[in-house]
Symmetry: C2
Subunit: 658 residues, 2 copies
């Protein structure tokens, strides 16, 4: 097991590229108790390279125009006094669309692509807008300044003022880490100092003892502390995190105010709020060594995955209040599974992985990345899903709003698209880590990984056709010549059969040196040393804990990290409400390069259930179904992430067996 | 089959009690094409007598105090200029709480109980308040008058101004029919005339071509036409009904504006809005003989029951927008099933029963009355459920708002309590009907029924311990001596086994003269003639159409018209998420007079599923469950209507079989 090692101190004074910790999100500070330190990585080919290319070529470049047409940029100009007009947008947090786009674009700038200059100009222009809009004392929120006569912090339950500040700070940290430029960081520091002058516990001399009902500023303040070394920001984040759950916001779970984080036994309330708060709690545990916060975070992550996580990694069972719902309340049609919640889950789990060194966080990240998150972005990068249901019924009527099952160009509440952009643009920072003893590869992506291993750089190349094929080849390019270290590869939880070839040694699942999900290969590595991990991707039928009532009598098709679904378009002549899968028959795998950008499909044997007419009342004594009746049907499953890229129609992940 | 007969004309000039059509809701007007005419009935003992006694002694008398403390009455005083103060309440439709209470109290006054005088005084006082608050031109809405500077009809999507007028009109009709007094009817007529001067189609000379997004005024206007004979009100109702679905309100299903009623193929959108609109469409078809509207109503009722009705009769699958949801989307935990929707369903179905003469509408009324509706009222008549879920999970955290799974004394949106009061207070008007050929008994309640059969009164007594026992005795007390007529008794759809004794003749299910749900006994009846219908109440296990995915692999326990549920309080030592019922074992029935006001319980054999620990991830390859493992457990089911009357805790209607 990786063990707690000393973290690499932040070096905000170093120009980008010269810091041994990569310029990505989550950079544990000096003295942090994290087990692992993020490794630098590049994504050079394969599945995620394609998705990121679409993000870089289409999604991010369209941002400025979309923000212009939705009014976000003009709001900033009006506040700055450089334009006339009225506030546009429906929410007090519309500024965050700008900030999240700036964060995405900043991470993207760190990759120095050929289209760098135009993007850099867009960023510079929009950073200037933000700087010009900032008030002399550091405050900035266009909704309150334009619609509320400059009123401040009177409506912490709904105002989102600190939430907006948080996203501004995160964008600034990204901009500074990626480009070395201080313009936005200066704005963020000024805003953070203003907040620090206003908010604090009784007796602190600050006028307001309060919290923003949408957590976000907390984790941003930790990152600002990491970037600047200014301890006040960490302290302020800690104050905020611990003030939730004490009724300052009325005690609602929606606002994360029903119970303090330290005492909570399961995740609850608004999913994104809960997850951002827990990311911050984990950051604090990392930076301060707070064992109680760490225990709470571990306990809540465990409860969340055991009882409140959809098979796609999606989180949030209720449309109403975007709430987590009760344990094992995991509906299909009304799964909320907001794209932002998937992103927040990945962000939190990555912090947990770094803090604890455990492999299971990478398991959830993988599942969420390939399924619950990625479904939120269309294959062409131009359309989005806000909610990610696991079933769309025959005859579904869709009103086409933000929470529609149809991909949409932009939302009235446009939180998800720029959030997805920032995750994709920073994805290489969620792949690998290092500690004093070695290098850990959490996610399998073709590219290059550089970790600091006890002060010495280790460089490895990864080559794989994952997730379509299970072979992962790792080649050591640089390593210290004189001492052993451990190459750790995550064995995914879904995988029970694998082989490993390491030089002349081979292992399989019966004898490989695997503990708690990590395959640990320790030796004195030399450049050119080669490891091949071969994960068996045999397609599988999965059931749920029987307390998940919504999917009783159903199976899901999975292969590797991918969850599959059926779409109506592949099953002409009827919908999907009456299909039945035969779980005793084998699954057929076919890679179809022409379909949906190239996907491996899985064909299962099934049938259409005959219509047993119960008359006008659909409840009656049990009607015998022989299990054989109905027309045989080949069920063609596609990866869930690729659904809703052809035409509207039914979809389902869970397939009835009767 | 009852056939279309001539309806009895309304006689608004007759004092109450002297009209051959009883003073209840839904009184088809002259020339109406209804097959049946409501019969007068009294409820004298038994199940519903007890429930109505609680309504009369507790619920209704508490109304004035609750309306006072919630601010509804003071709003009227402020508008009338007889008090100072600010508007109180959160919605533009708070006035309807007053109107629905007035309607309930008016029906109650028609029953002349010993506590009549105090109630009559309360009604007189509050009627005066309403009359004083009315504007000189007939308009009245305290929200718009006090909060919106008297602005009118500018926000038909959310304003509820005509919805409020509708409930005022219904209260006035009830008040006039029950008491013969005109004070409130005069207010209603003035308001209706005002509306008729403002709303109308292009070219009508009326300034506004529009509809209220919450239907209600339509069916109220039909009733006002019936009460006054003024045809303009019927025409106005017809205009309104046909303007839905043409985009006047933006085209949303929520507002019933996506598709015209005449073209709709399934119920959709906000459930109560849809049902009130369909009640009005049915009223119009009844009064005008409009065959297209009738066909639409029949088609939509059929689609609703086939695809969108919970086993309790509850309607509405989404909390979000209080929406019907998709076909066969029938969740348990998040079943919305608003109490008001159950009431609206009963009101609509009764109109359908009168229009068509068919028995199946009585089937749905029965199911809804005993289950989806009655669960909304606590046994003591003091607490209410707004939503009526079919499952509350172990570990459910409840925020206690209007949509809570906890009974509440009053709601911020208090639509349901006075709505339930008015249904209970008028329940005797939903039980029986007459036509030229005879008397039809739709619901079995101990009491007395008086119908007009071809111009001659027929009186029958009904005695029964229904729903606890299945024996229903009907004795003819008065009948024309010289000609045959038909006594029709509804054979409930749930009942496949029954016996009939009629004088010396006996029948059973194989040879009884039953067609389309009506047992039809035709003869020349003499006073003292006696019929005994004996419905077999053997408890039964029910399954759902397999397209209702949420309950796959589950059964519900039913007995007679009652749907049963388990409550946590009857199953100590664990929750209900892990229970399994054995459908092969017999069900045991026990009447327990001491429990929940006296209920018949049903005990089923079951077990607690052993905890199969899947680790932190609840999805995995199928784990074999022998079907036998786990601790055996007696599962004690109580009638669903009686749940949530002891202590908070889990509840479930659908029981897993594995």
């Amino acid at each position: 097991m990786p063990r707690p090692g000393s973290a690499v101190p932040p070096s905000p004074s170093l120009p980008p590229g010269q810091n041994s910790v990569p310029a990505g999100p989550v950079r544990p500070g000096p003295g942090a108790s994290a087990a692992l330190v993020p490794a630098a990585a590049e994504i050079r080919a394969g599945f995620w390279h394609s998705r990121r290319d679409v993000n870089a070529r289409t999604s991010i470049p369209q941002g400025p125009e979309l923000l212009e047409s939705a009014g976000n940029l003009s709001n900033l100009r009006i506040v700055a006094g450089t334009a006339d007009g009225a506030f546009r947008g429906g929410y007090p947090f519309v500024d965050t669309d700008v900030y999240k786009w700036l964060e995405a674009a900043s991470w993207q700038l760190g990759q120095r692509r050929q289209d760098h200059d135009r993007l850099a100009a867009d960023v510079e222009r929009i950073v200037s807008l933000v700087a010009e809009a900032q008030q002399p004392d550091g405050y900035l929120n266009t909704w309150f300044q334009l619609l509320k006569g400059g009123e401040r912090y009177k409506d912490l339950r709904w105002g989102h003022e600190l939430y907006c500040a948080g996203h501004l700070i995160q964008a600034a940290v990204a901009h500074h880490r990626s480009t070395g430029r201080r313009e936005l960081l200066d704005v963020a520091v000024k805003f953070a100092d203003h907040i620090d002058s206003v908010f604090g516990p009784p007796g602190s001399g600050r006028p307001i003892d309060g919290i923003d009902a949408h957590p976000e500023v907390e984790t941003a303040l930790v990152e600002l502390y990491r970037e600047t070394g200014e301890r006040r920001y960490l302290d302020l984040a800690g104050y905020f995190v611990d003030r939730f759950g004490h009724g300052l916001l009325g005690g609602e779970a929606y606002c994360q105010d029903r119970v303090p984080v330290r005492e909570a036994t399961n995740v609850e309330g608004h999913a994104v709020r809960q997850l951002y708060l827990l990311a911050a709690a984990t950051d604090l545990a990392t930076e301060t060594g707070d064992a109680e916060l760490r225990a709470a975070a571990e306990r809540l992550w465990d409860a969340m995955t055991r009882t409140k996580t959809h098979i796609t990694g999606g989180l949030g069972a209720h449309h109403d209040e975007e709430d987590f719902g009760d344990p094992f309340e995991l509906p299909n049609e009304r799964a909320y599974c907001e794209t932002c919640a998937a992103i927040a889950s990945i962000q939190w789990s990555w912090r947990m992985a770094l803090l604890t060194g455990e492999a299971r966080y990478g398991d959830l990240i993988e599942r969420t990345l390939y399924n619950g998150f990625l479904a939120g972005v269309s294959l062409d990068g131009e359309r989005w899903l806000y909610v990610n249901p696991l079933q769309v019924r025959d005859g579904h009527t869709d009103t086409g709003g933000d929470q529609s099952a149809r991909r949409t160009r932009w939302f009235r509440c446009a939180c998800c698209p720029p959030n997805a952009m920032r995750l994709l643009a920073s994805l290489e920072h969620y792949l690998a880590s290092g500690d004093e003893d070695g290098l850990q590869i959490h996610q399998y992506v073709t590219g290059r990984v550089t970790a600091d291993v006890g002060g010495t750089p280790v460089v490895a190349r990864v080559e794989t056709e994952y997730p379509w094929q299970g072979t992962i080849a790792v080649t050591v390019d640089e390593a210290p010549a004189d001492r052993p270290w451990t190459l750790s590869l995550r064995i995914p939880r879904w995988c029970s059969d694998y082989r490993v070839r390491c030089g002349s040694t081979t292992y399989d699942a019966t004898n490989a040196p695997v503990r708690d999900g990590w395959l640990r290969l320790e030796r004195t590595w030399a450049p050119g040393d080669h490891v091949v991990l071969d994960l068996s991707l045999g397609p599988r039928l999965t059931t749920a804990d029987p307390r998940a009532d919504a999917v009783r009598g159903c199976v899901a098709i999975e292969r590797g990290p991918l969850v599959y679904c059926l779409e109506g378009v592949d099953h002409p002549g009827g919908g999907l409400d009456d299909i039945v899968v035969d779980p005793t028959r084998p699954l057929a795998v076919e890679h179809r390069p022409e379909l949906l950008g190239g996907v491996t499909t899985i064909v299962a044997a099934g049938r259409r259930r005959p219509d047993e007419d119960r008359g006008w009342w659909p409840y009656a004594d049990a009607v015998a179904d022989s299990g054989q009746s109905g027309d045989p049907l080949e069920l063609t499953a596609i990866p869930y992430y690729a659904w809703a890229n052809r035409q509207d129609g039914p979809m389902r992940v869970w397939l009835p067996t009767f």
